[in-house]
Symmetry: C2
Subunit: 131 residues, 2 copies
């Protein structure tokens, strides 16, 4: 298992994702202050390749320098505020998701017809009225 490579690759994915979230944030801010510009940035971002955050910013810098610089400031802010909570959220999230996958799988294997709890969680049916 090549952990350093996986870590580097994961950081790259995360940086591109935060760039995408920064663009969404700037679009939402512009929708309040300058709706036509919000529409322009939204449509620009849906046609250009936002999957690669650096290439996207490089292109936006040539089109609308002010917006590109603003996206860069916002993604730096997101990195400073959001990222520090991620390790715990991801570790807890994976542990809980694994438990849930195992629980559902065991339930399927043992086929316990526990209609009361299984039915409620899957169909969101209202609780039985008590007599």
């Amino acid at each position: 298992m090549d952990l350093p490579t996986i870590a580097r690759q994961t950081a790259r994915v995360l940086i591109s994702y935060l760039t995408y979230e920064a663009v969404r944030t700037v679009v939402a801010q512009l929708a309040e202050t300058d709706p036509p510009l919000a529409i322009w940035l939204n449509s620009y971002s849906s046609t250009s390749n936002i999957q690669d955050g650096e290439a996207y910013l490089e292109a936006l810098l040539r089109e609308r320098q002010d917006l590109a610089l603003r996206v860069m400031v916002v993604r730096e802010h997101l990195a400073e505020t959001v990222v520090e909570h991620l390790p715990e959220m991801v570790q807890t999230g994976i542990r809980q998701a694994n438990m849930e996958r195992r629980r559902q799988h065991l339930e399927r294997l043992t086929q316990i017809p526990d209609a009361a709890s299984a039915g409620r969680s899957e169909l969101e049916s209202p609780p039985e009225p008590q007599p």
Copy 2:
């Protein structure tokens, strides 16, 4: 800026990405010990929707319970070893990328024909021989 929602969404993206890296790791391990099974898992993962990690595992649990449980163990291990380094890697990565974007943009705006350094960094030309 809705930071809690952005944090939750980012954690979800990260969990799905680590599930994908766990699948790649298991495929690489199987390539050593059981090549036909490695080929099967690789082809299964390229046709099924691995973008949604939970749906992918749910489906794999029905097809090949042993492989799904193994992917789950590996992703938990990745979460414990890789994720703690991410905040610093992402913060440093974004700061450096922002500086690089700004530097390149300034260079373009000022159009300094610095052939010696620009040429070298772009074309990887060898250093001039010293007399």
